[in-house]
Symmetry: C2
Subunit: 460 residues, 2 copies
């Protein structure tokens, strides 16, 4: 008999892991809902014509394609079959693929339901996506995205709200973070220095590596790529990272004579307004070097990194969230001028970061949970009644299915980190009492069901 296995790049989530994941997502959802965002779920399967052409050539290759049902070869071109032309055959045998991200499905949903949607449309979406990527540490073929977007409004009130939601979520999760923020307008204002759009693109790709290769590394690469006209601009950018306050950074940009134009003014104006709308911007840092998703974002851009003091010194995982404003969500589906702003949470990375910071440990200590143990079958009906009565008090209560030796039942309770065992033998049955054992302290007391309910309530 073949041993069963999982497809590479996929995972089972055990109850222990799910408890943690659900804790994270429930905190997120509570914040989302308190800001008036509603949940959207879209199908895992989308028509390939909806997906293809939206993620570039590389993305198209990473789409999981689903074989048409039935006699799928009946309409295939014999010449293509004879040539073993996989690429040519694909559109003849597959009409549907698996969701690659949550943005294209959002755009499709907005276009298909534009007459029913109340705009500004505030939605959150937490669902798996699939990519036929090479699996490696931390990169999966099935993974979760969690996106929140405000669609159909262009006020930076939304940018400020999304930043506050980031802060609220991570505060509720007790994870220390820093949010970096920049604006496409600031970066666009470097076009005068870079002279051509090609140079500007190359510049942005190089400075994006500053975290890894440092000031000198970027400088060297700029020279190698024939971008030495931007060396001064790069030095200015690098130095701006050390300027302490956000307002000071804005002043700096306003006074930099090589940065000019409407884009700069729009960028500075929106950033100032966003910071003005925030209640507490202690953990929000303006960073002119943040160059995120520039093929897509057109206004403010955000990135979140964990800075929690409890993380190991060598812990590095990159950003745990990010996003920005975009001007044209639905253009690919023929609906023009739909502006929006959105951010996403990297659920797997938030999980890994919280685990590394030890934030799950306290959560999982035995506190509640009651196992009702019947010593033999004659006690089971009484035990079932006790379990019902305790559950009515709001406790998590299980009754062991069966009546093995008490040790086996208690091992089960300890393995599941339950706090209490209620032990019922014939003596207790006759006396209409039960024995309560505190599985942490080992203490044992005898009492009526109502009495022991009080003992449990007092100790959790």
């Amino acid at each position: 008999m073949e041993k069963p296995s999982l497809p590479s790049g996929t995972r089972d989530f055990s109850p222990r892991v799910m408890q943690r994941r659900k804790y994270i997502t429930s905190v997120m959802e509570r914040v989302f809902v308190s800001h008036g965002f509603g949940a959207l779920e879209t199908p895992s399967l989308e028509n390939l014509r909806t997906l293809q052409g939206k993620y570039g050539n590389e993305g198209d290759q990473l789409l999981f394609k689903v074989l048409n049902s039935g006699d799928f070869l009946s309409k295939a071109d014999p010449a293509i079959l004879a040539a073993k032309d996989s690429k040519g055959l694909t559109p003849q045998i597959s009409d549907r693929g698996l969701r690659y991200d949550l943005t294209v499905p959002l755009a499709r949903f907005v276009v298909m339901n534009r007459n029913d949607i109340v705009f500004p449309f505030k939605r959150y979406q937490m669902q798996p996506v699939w990519r036929a990527d090479r699996p490696q540490k931390g990169r999966y073929r099935e993974f979760w995205q969690c996106d929140i977007d405000v669609v159909g409004a262009n006020s930076v009130v939304s940018e400020a709200e999304l930043v506050e939601m980031y802060l609220e979520v991570f505060a509720a999760l007790d994870l220390g973070v820093k949010i970096r923020i920049n604006h496409r307008g600031i970066l666009d204002a470097f076009l005068g220095v870079l002279e051509t759009v090609e140079n500007w693109n190359a510049f942005m790709i190089i400075i994006d590596k500053a975290d890894k290769i440092g000031f000198e590394g970027v400088s060297k690469e700029l020279e190698e790529k024939g971008l030495s006209m931007a060396l001064n601009a790069w030095k200015w950018l690098w130095d701006s990272k050390s300027v302490s306050g956000n307002a000071e950074k804005m002043l700096l940009a306003g006074g930099a004579d090589f940065l000019q134009g409407d884009a700069l003014n729009k960028g500075l104006g929106e950033l100032e307004k966003i910071f003005g709308l925030l209640g507490d911007s202690t953990h929000v840092v303006l960073d002119f070097t943040l160059a995120r998703g520039l093929s897509y974002y057109t206004g403010a851009v955000f990135e979140v990194e964990a800075t929690d003091g409890r993380l190991p010194a060598d812990f590095r995982l990159g950003s745990i969230g990010g996003g920005g404003r975009y001007d044209n969500l639905t253009g690919v589906f023929g609906l023009k001028d739909v502006s929006g702003v959105g951010v996403s949470f990297g659920l797997d990375r938030v999980y890994d970061t919280m685990e590394a910071a030890g934030l799950f440990d306290a959560m999982e200590q035995a506190v509640g949970g009651v196992l009702v143990c019947a010593m033999d079958t004659s006690c089971e009906v009484f035990g079932a009644g006790v379990a019902r009565a305790l559950r009515a008090h709001g406790f998590t209560v299980e009754m062991y299915p069966g009546t093995p030796k008490l040790k086996k039942q208690l091992d089960y309770a300890n393995d599941k980190k339950m706090g209490f065992a209620v032990i019922i033998g014939n003596e207790e049955l006759q006396a209409n009492k039960v024995a309560l054992k505190n599985l942490v302290s080992g203490e044992q007391v005898l009492g009526s069901v109502e009495e022991i309910a009080g003992v449990i309530a007092a100790s959790i």
Copy 2:
């Protein structure tokens, strides 16, 4: 530009629908967790060798198969390609498929993790499954299953617990239901009358249609299929439906001389024990005609139907849940003698039933929700602070992104069924006060943020 569309048999779930679905699943999860069940999630993609051969020929054909990545034709057999043999080609170009149910993944998970799992393993799982079925009303290609199982124990304490969980869930959802229960042993005891296993199988298939074709219809079909030796047994079964009490039905079966053997005694014994363990069995009915999943279940079987008085008289949807005990969950993967018992909830059907009974209406009346409306941009920073202050009181608060005319902002609040608008113009700004409008009554008051927070709290 092509209009985007959904693959047939799939659905988007809008925020309004998601709110209802999440209400249902959160009630279920609360009950599951209070009984010590933990969540399991398994990948959408499974290896086809895990799935194939588990659901019969028909099931194999309904599996969605995912095309291998890259040059998937490179190893295909040219003769099979030339013959356009779709069936022969499939295993050469597809290694993975989409999850077809939640039972095979559970079995795979148990086998792969048997050394780490704490048995009895109590898990719940709510995830979509996919079937390449012909879509029709109420039948989708992507739909949700919700399963709860106790694996690795064979005490009927678990059967009773699952029945109680059904009762708790539907009581919490305020939906009136009846749970029918039977035991494989009772049905097996008809083998003496039916003479052969083939006859027994045919008999079970026919009586399963009794709801639709009635007593006479079943009788007629039994004669046509050469099963007239079972006509008396069928009459006994039909009459047993009218016997009022569960205990009376058990007595009836014990006394029926054509029903005999160990299977009958085991069935009656377990049923008696299950009813004894239940706190209140008012809505639990013994029904000897219930013949559910007999190729799989080996002990007690359950089925839930909605009997809510608020349902329209012509509302018929079939069962909204069911399950039973099985003896050999993991045998297909080489692990013998793993017994379990499980039930499932038909999430889509529960939703449709609750909608038909009008149970969502009350839930969705405007009660909370506050929209902060800034009259012009100079009021936005003040407004953002008001929104933060009200949110700190626990209210759901949005600030309209932008400052269109008040009517447009209030329309948005009404469309989203919000309860209150907080209106901030320059006058309010100067006075450090805000205007609170109750969107249901139309009443308006002026006060400090703390004062209006009190007004909101008092009216929701």
